[in-house]
Amino acid sequence: MTPNDPNITWVEEPRLGLSGKMYMPMFVQGLTTTFKHLKGSLQGKAVTVSYPDQEPEIGNPIIYRGVHRLNKDSQGRVKCVACFLCATACPAHCIDIIGIESPWEDREKYPESFTIDELRCIYCGMCEEACPVDAIELTSLYNLTGRSREEMVFDKEKLLSVYDATKDKEPMRSPEMGGTV
């Protein structure tokens, strides 16, 4: 696409009038918000949260992009088929998979090792998007801490344990929700 493409509409910035040039309306508008919050907090309706004593509310945990989890299938096996599509889609190159032949009849390939560098991850959700079997999902866990860099590289077991911890609150994407079996 070039700048003179007929599909592009160029929009000019509106010219500011005298009041706009003096910044007064914007200034007053900004201060109004500040005073509104001040008034609210004096009445006990603060917009800030006293984290970590108080947990913030997350809108929709299903679409929130927090820590990853590796889902399990109905038999408790890792759902991932080691296709590397998440690693391919990942713009931060934080997913590292080693695939081997699976020990199960109905599956061909599974990950021997699956690690995500949570520090390198930018939580864009592309891995979730790319996964053909809905094995990798982002949960609503946001408070991710660790004592070392090594600890923040999550391996397969840890990612599966995230699934166990979150499966009740955030169900796996079911076929009704557009997911795979």
């Binding site: 088929v81 080691a82 296709c83 391919t88 032949e101 109905d106 061909e108 390939k109 053909p132």
Partner: protein
């Protein structure tokens, strides 16, 4: 000259060229999709993917009469006046139909299929398939069974092109593979108790246009879209097959043959194909060392070239053993460097590893007993510089009578190649420089131990048994602690910057008449025949 009409465009072909519709369309820049046809195998015209319209142009009236039915392009010879139409609606419809039919029985397990990304079925489906599905297709897991030690068959992914079957019948000659059952139940299989077990078995995996045949060595190791392919030459034997080294992040994952009509066509042997494991062997030498009073001590490459230079310059009589694993450029650089210090220096052709006898297949493909890529090249460098050619054994025996102040032994062998008795003959030499990939008795007696590069790390050219010079560049960087021979010799020759093999090859062509045919010529994909000039001289 015969003229063929492809989509209205006149294509002239050679008088004695025997081309089919696919090949002649390729000259017109039209790709005709095909599964079962392969230039190296016989034609069966069974996949029906290459169906085209054909007809004849009358030589006198110029009138074109077309055949009512579509014909397979692979089976239709292109002669004077033949007309091909490869882009009509009728042809496109036929292709979409074939694709649709193949997909009805396909597992569509592309995410876990190792072929995904280089699969003809995938590519053709995007290019020639229907936009919508008319059948309710669901992915399923393909049945799989090993055909032999090297190849696994994924039964349901197969499109029954029978390229693999024809390969084992026509090229490797063992005919292990066959088609069992009929119609939609057709399968590739081996006879019970007779697995796919020949010395070229890996080729069937390259031939397979879909993911039905998987290389067990490569299976599940890497997705093909991560892999970068580099043109190279196989260092397994003196045939010097053209290959592609496929790597990702300096790790080789597989070798694939590259088409070269002057060497081996489309094939390579299993020995060469899987003969890269030593490159990533954890036992490889990766630390240059100097013998001190208390055993070996580590040295830095940055100080090493200067130290070697000083030590060599204080020596009177020098010998250099040029390994047949070196490239022509590397051998020449070391030889000229040593000759500059000692004009009467002795150059020796290094140990030439051999194993068994040459093995020829019915189509002319030969696996040679000489397990090194560049004996001819190194030989000619030595003859070109000194007019004589002592071999490794001559040299080792001669050591008792003659003494040297310094001997530089180059290696690059895949295994430990010398024994204690030979190595003992070298123990009296004051300055023994051994450059090798793996430790050996000789390595343990060295004054300087220099780790050597393996074949995908080298840069330069090899001369194969038939005097064909093939150039290549490095495919992977050497492991930490290893400096390639080329770079070290470049540095010793007081040249600045990085080793440029092409400029050295120019020097070689000027200095040694044998290499004259390569002067100022681009090596190209297929290499240069060095015999041309020799024949002219005769």
């Amino acid at each position: 000259m015969p003229t063929v009409l492809v989509n209205g465009e006149e294509i002239e072909i050679g008088e004695d060229e025997r081309l089919n519709g696919i090949q002649v369309a390729a000259r017109a820049g039209e790709e005709v999709p095909h599964y079962c046809w392969h230039p190296g195998l016989t034609i069966v015209a069974s996949c029906r993917m290459c169906l085209v319209e054909t007809g004849r142009r009358d030589a006198e009236s110029g009138e074109i009469s077309m055949m009512p039915k579509l014909v397979p392009g692979c089976q239709t010879p292109a002669t004077d006046g033949t007309v091909f139409v490869t882009n009509s609606e009728k042809v496109k419809d036929a292709r979409a139909m074939v694709e649709e039919d193949l997909l009805i029985r396909h597992p569509i397990d592309c995410p876990i299929c190792d072929k995904a990304g280089e699969c003809s079925l995938q590519d053709y489906h995007f290019e020639h398939g229907r936009e919508e599905r008319r059948a309710d297709l669901r992915p399923f897991t393909s049945r799989r069974r090993p055909l032999g030690d090297t190849v696994t068959l994924f039964v349901d992914r197969c499109v029954m092109c029978t390229r693999c079957v024809r390969f084992t019948r026509e090229i490797s000659g063992d005919a292990e593979l066959m088609v069992v059952n009929r119609g939609a139940h057709e399968e590739i299989d081996v006879f019970p108790g007779f697995p796919l077990d020949n010395r070229m078995s890996g080729n069937v995996v390259d031939l397979c246009p879909v993911g039905a045949l998987g290389d067990r060595d490569f299976l599940y190791k890497q997705r093909v879209w991560f892999i970068k392919s580099h043109e190279n030459v196989c260092a397994g034997c003196s045939t010097g097959c053209s290959i592609n080294v496929e790597e990702n992040q300096d790790r080789v994952y597989r070798l694939k043959p590259r088409e070269n009509p002057h060497v081996t066509g489309w094939w390579m042997c299993d020995e060469g194909r899987y003969g890269w494991k030593h490159v990533h062997d954890p036992g490889r030498n990766t630390q240059p060392k100097r013998r001190g009073d208390e055993g070996y001590e580590n040295v830095e490459w940055s100080d090493l070239s200067q130290e070697l230079d000083l030590k060599l310059r204080s020596s009177q009589r020098i010998a250099a053993v040029l390994s047949p694993h070196l490239t022509v450029e590397e051998a020449f650089m070391l030889a000229t460097y040593v000759r500059e210090i000692d004009p009467n220096a002795q150059f020796v052709l290094g140990h030439v590893p051999t194993q068994g006898e040459d093995e020829s297949f019915s189509n002319g493909f030969t696996i040679r007993a000489e397990k090194c890529p560049n004996r001819r090249g190194v030989e000619e460098v030595i003859i070109g510089l000194t007019k004589e050619l002592p071999t490794w054994d001559d040299f080792a025996n001669q050591l008792g009578e003659e003494s040297f102040d310094a001997v530089w032994i180059t290696g690059g062998y895949k295994t430990n190649w010398n024994d204690e008795t030979t190595a003992d003959k070298f123990s009296g030499i004051p300055l023994l420089i051994v450059q090798d990939t793996f430790a050996s008795p000789l390595w343990d007696r060295a004054t300087f131990q220099l780790p050597s590069a393996a074949f995908p790390e080298r840069d330069g050219s090899y001369v194969n048994h038939a005097d064909r010079l093939q150039c290549f560049s490095w495919a992977i960087r050497p492991p930490a602690g290893v400096m390639t021979e080329g770079q070290l010799f470049w540095r010793l020759s007081q040249k600045s910057g990085l080793y440029k093999s092409r400029s050295i090859l120019e020097d070689v062509t000027r200095e040694i008449p044998y290499f004259a045919a390569a002067a100022g010529v681009d090596c190209g994909e297929h290499g240069i025949d060095l015999k041309v000039d020799k024949l002219a001289a005769v």
